[in-house]
């Protein structure tokens, strides 16, 4: 079945197809229409779920945590300040090893108030231990929700995951979306079967105190689970492609990088437009390619170590800024490469922040700047693209 859906409707369809048993959410623009759609699915019987209305995002995550602890599949969605308010509970979900999936609709953080696309809200949650998938189309939103449950619930992973879509550019944009058959999804994603859960017939303790002589080992196990997720994401993406015919290439997707001297890196919707710009520069004879970061956590360091061997310049586009140094994606890319022998120049481009429209012209100027780095060396490490008044 094919429908024309907004990104948020596609998100809700992904949840419905995943047969989520508990939804707890609090509204916030631009996420609200996801949970409105789910409320409708629940009300008209299309989705057999318990829909819990809560008084805040912190409570939404707390409700998901409690429900997931009883051994059921749960979902919530949020944006911006809502995700920020959840922060404490995001750590809890990881420590408690609960494979909750959240739809995160990227929106800037205030003040000044801004409801548009910006990755600061999810980048700020990098250190919680949640897996992060950045998507670029409504189809990818739907497919990623289903894949995220499969990865998250793997016995060697058991970590929560965010499926992350750009505000308005996806959340409120109508596109054609293929709805997979429920039977095929059921086969791909069997019911959640946790190793431990709250069960009165088999009592166990959850969330208890751990003294300093063992806490570190618990953290190490989570670190290992993130490593396992790296492998699992590649396997699950491949399996999904075989069954449903859509391949998202694991943690990153390369475009025209085969003989590239310069590769541009980005995440979210900017990469869709970027492919057109790459084609244009290629037609002029420039050896330039694109690498889409689909998964930011676990970080695809092996993929970057590999590309670093093949190129002279890596331009990293961040749709957020980590104050005090540079964009988070830039810092991670640079860090991943340092202990190899490869020494490409790496430049950070801050772009599209606070919903500034990322136009082909803006991308072309950025890519030409990266091509100049190849010919003339690195002038400076960071550049704010389209900044009024200049730097």
């Amino acid at each position: 079945m094919r429908l024309t859906l907004t990104g948020n409707q596609a998100n809700a369809w992904g949840v419905k197809l995943s047969r989520v048993q508990v939804v707890a959410a609090y509204p916030i623009t631009p996420q609200t229409t996801i949970v409105e759609e789910l409320a409708e699915f629940a009300a008209n019987g299309q989705l057999d779920t318990q829909y819990i209305k809560v008084e805040s995002e912190h409570s939404a995550m707390a409700a998901c945590i409690a429900a997931e602890n009883t051994g059921v599949r749960t979902y919530t969605a949020s944006s911006s300040h809502g995700i920020a308010l959840m922060h404490e509970m995001l750590h809890w979900a990881v420590g408690a090893r609960l494979p909750i999936v959240m739809g995160a609709v990227n929106r800037a953080i205030g003040p000044p108030w801004n409801i548009w696309a910006d990755h600061t809200d999810t980048i700020s949650q990098r250190d919680t231990g949640w897996m992060q998938f950045y998507v670029e189309s409504n189809q990818e939103v739907l497919d990623t929700i289903i894949q995220a449950y499969k990865v998250a619930e793997s016995r060697d992973v058991l970590l929560p995951a965010m499926a992350i879509e750009d505000a308005f550019i996806l959340s409120h944009t109508v596109e054609r979306v293929e709805i997979p058959d429920q039977e095929l999804v059921d086969e791909f994603l069997p019911p959640y079967n946790p190793p431990d859960y709250l069960n009165v017939d088999d009592p166990k303790g959850f969330g208890s105190l751990v003294m300093p002589d063992w806490y570190m080992e618990f953290r190490y196990i989570i670190a290992r689970a993130q490593e396992a997720a790296r492998k699992r994401i590649r396997e699950v993406t491949k399996e999904y492609a075989e069954i449903f015919g859509r391949d998202y290439h694991g943690l990153v997707e390369e475009y025209r990088t085969e003989d590239a001297d310069v590769v541009m890196v980005g995440a979210g919707t900017m990469v869709s437009t970027a492919r057109d710009v790459i084609d244009k520069l290629r037609s002029e004879g420039h050896k330039i390619g694109l690498l889409k970061i689909r998964v930011f956590r676990p970080f695809p360091y092996e993929e970057f170590q590999d590309i670093a061997k093949r190129v002279d310049v890596i331009g990293v586009m961040d749709r957020s800024f980590t104050f005090g140094y540079g964009g988070a994606m830039f810092s991670e890319v640079k860090g991943a490469i340092y202990n190899t022998d490869a020494r490409p120049k790496i430049k950070n481009y801050l772009i599209g922040i606070g919903g500034r429209d990322v136009t082909p012209k803006m991308l072309e100027d950025t890519f030409r700047n990266a091509l100049r780095v190849k010919d003339h060396g690195l002038d400076r490490e960071m550049m704010w693209v389209d900044l009024k008044g200049g730097e």
């Binding site: 670029e136 750009d166 409120h172 944009t173 109508v174 596109e175 054609r176 869709s272 136009t359």
Partner: protein
């Protein structure tokens, strides 16, 4: 690729009009994309929505700056400089205005200008209220006739399927507008 920009005021359904046309184009085997630009989300504030239609899949994700067509759902926006209704229209592009006036009474340079009394049609069909008529389905009829990008059949079907209420009245508004567009 055909690109259109819809201007309206919050509550008039400009965003929904673009979404319904996207669904109609898709039902005819074309590819489409529709999206709003939100300013402040309140009733009566100027809003804009974008629509792309193509024979090939549409992968780009940015706003439309040089539309082939501009649709003005609320004639008062012609006087609102900030609404930028005239910005970027391609030479010889299409302009559709909701007004009782004739196209010859409006100055859009070399554009092909069409007018439609969408407000009158909405009131006739009891869509919204006399003070707050919902004009978007009449606008859809005018768009289909003026641009020829989508068939009337596909538009009627999409409006019928996607109308939350008053399906027959909305379809009647599409057809009435299709017949009554001035400037054809």
């Amino acid at each position: 690729m055909y690109e259109a920009r819809f201007h309206g005021r919050g509550g008039q359904g400009a965003v929904t009009a673009a979404n319904i046309l996207a669904a109609a184009a898709y039902s005819e085997g074309k590819y489409s994309q529709a999206f709003p630009i939100f300013g402040v989300e309140r009733r009566g504030a100027p809003v804009a929505a974008f629509l792309r239609i193509d024979e090939k899949p549409i992968d780009i994700k940015f706003q439309i700056y040089e539309p082939d067509a501009v649709i003005i759902q609320d004639p008062s926006l012609l006087e609102v400089k900030e609404a930028k209704v005239r910005d970027g229209l391609k030479p010889g592009g299409v302009v559709i205005v909701n007004t009782k006036k004739d196209p010859s009474e409006l100055d859009f340079g070399d554009a092909e200008v069409y007018t439609i009394d969408a407000t009158g049609i909405a009131i006739e069909n009891r869509l919204g209220t006399a003070t707050n008529p919902i004009v978007n389905t009449a606008i859809i009829g005018a768009f289909v006739r003026a641009t020829g990008t989508i068939s009337l059949d596909a538009a009627v079907k999409a409006v019928y399927e996607l109308s939350p209420a008053k399906r027959d009245e909305n379809v009647a508004a599409v057809k009435a507008a299709y017949d009554r567009v001035k400037g054809v």
